[in-house]
Amino acid sequence: MPLRRKGSRSLKVTDKSVIYSKQGSIATIQLNRPESINAITQSMRDLIYDALMAYSHDEEAKACIIYGAGERGFCSGADLIEFGKTRSQTESRAIRKRRDLWGLLSQIEKPLIAAVHGYVIGAGLEITSLCDIRVASEDAVFGMPEVAHGFIPGAGGTQSFPRAIGKTHAMKQFLSDRSDRMTAQRAFELGLIHKMVSIDVLLKTAFNLAEEIVVTDLEVLTAMKTAVLDGWYMPMTLGLNLEKRLIGNIKPNN
């Protein structure tokens, strides 16, 4: 179940590289470092973590849209300049375990909507793959360039991306180079993207989807996510039991 606490947590930060806000029951997380195509820094990771916790704790919020500021793209990946300055293996693993943003993103029980445009690269594509509903503008291009830099995706991409489009296509994309990025059209055909729209209406489309979602009770939405995502790894009989148990917990809505 989502962590529940009375009232929402306000974020008192001066760092504006991630902006969390809320309109009614729809929360938004904006990646806001357009000068670097929203490349994810360590402080952005912390801010996204806080924003997701705020969303999770807020009883009113039922859907969250993640999108990127600026014209060039949703997110160009992890900030590799900062990457080069990481400390020892043990220390960076400890930091990751302490505030496991990617784990939180994959386990949050409320709906997540990604609205992406332009460059959706590396960690940008990994965030997108961990969202439940994915909308893209026609200009979006998707790529996973990690192995070309000598490492592997580290924000869950090796797990979430093959689950989103199938192993055959995911493997090819992981191993491609920058000349072979995936277009929005291809991403739509492969099921990575559920709706492809013109850039002018990208956010509006995401909000429309969110509005369709938030009319439903939160407990129904979380039960649905739990049934599908947890049930997927279970043998069928256990999955059906899980579904029964979840239905039994939902109070009838009059």
Partner: protein, 261 residues
């Protein structure tokens, strides 16, 4: 594409082997045009795959064929007649390679030929390629991993349809099903595979192997456990020279030169 051979392997009779610029190429060559897989070919393939996997000069393996068919299946006429099917099985040896394997497919890709292709990480096909697991027509089920690998590759619904009817599909449908990663009409399938192979060979070799492990082992795990595996592998990579070189090259805006350490 002409092949300069960096070093010669011993002469096998059912496989032709060469290495160029870190791309290991294996062409299977049966006794007839159907390229049927026999016990000797299975044994030689095992040996070549192992030697490529152990050889740091080889960073990626392309599995192709001589002639117009990849392979129409096994030379074994009746799988029930033999007790030791294991000496004919090859798919798991290919699937267990640590290095990336690319199947270059044309013509008939049937039965054990299809099971062999399914054991590879990437599959490319040229026009007029036919895929199928037709064992049901001889009263049998696939015996070199087909029931498991086809189902995982394209989902149980399409997999059961193909295996219960013994239907064959062409490369267009195979692409739609997610059975192949790409098709080609203009260039020969082997050229496409070699070109993709050389892209893979330019990546960080350790990272590529860890990627394969994270994706393949992770697909049998819950997402939590899969992400834990990914994190451990990603953290291990912190200590490699390749990662340091990758970050240095990025900062200096040049192509990295990986050594695989």
């Amino acid at each position: 594409m002409t092949l300069e051979i960096d070093f010669e392997f011993k002469n096998f009779s059912t496989v032709q082997v060469s290495v160029k610029e870190h791309v290991g190429l294996i062409r299977i060559q049966g006794t007839d045009t159907s390229n049927l897989i026999n016990e000797l070919m299975a044994a030689e393939l095992k040996e070549v795959i192992k030697s490529f996997d152990d050889n740091p000069e080889v960073r990626v393996i392309v599995l192709s064929s001589k002639g117009s068919n990849f392979s129409a299946g096994s030379a074994l006429e009746n799988p029930f007649s033999r007790v030791d099917l294991d000496s004919h099985r090859i798919a798991s040896h290919v699937a267990n390679a640590r290095k990336i394997t690319i199947a270059s497919l044309r013509g008939k890709v049937l039965d054990q030929g299809m099971e062999l292709a399914l054991a590879c990480d990437i599959r490319f096909a040229s026009t007029e390629t036919n895929f199928g697991l037709t064992h049901v027509k001889s009263g049998c089920i696939p015996w070199d991993g087909g029931t498991q690998r086809l189902t995982r590759a394209i989902g149980p619904s399409r997999a059961l349809y193909l295996m219960l009817t013994g239907a064959k599909i062409n490369e267009i449908q195979a692409l739609e099903y997610g059975l192949v990663s790409g098709t080609t009409s203009e260039v020969h399938d082997e050229q496409l595979s070699l070109e993709f192979g050389s892209i893979v060979a330019n990546h960080g070799p350790v990272a590529v192997q860890y990627l394969k492990e994270a994706v393949n082992s992770g697909s049998d795990l819950s997402i939590e456990d899969g992400m834990r595996l990914e994190l451990d592998l990603a953290t291990l990579l912190h200590s490699t020279n390749d990662r340091a070189e990758g970050l240095r090259a990025f900062a200096e805006k040049r192509k990295p030169k990986f050594k695989g350490d």
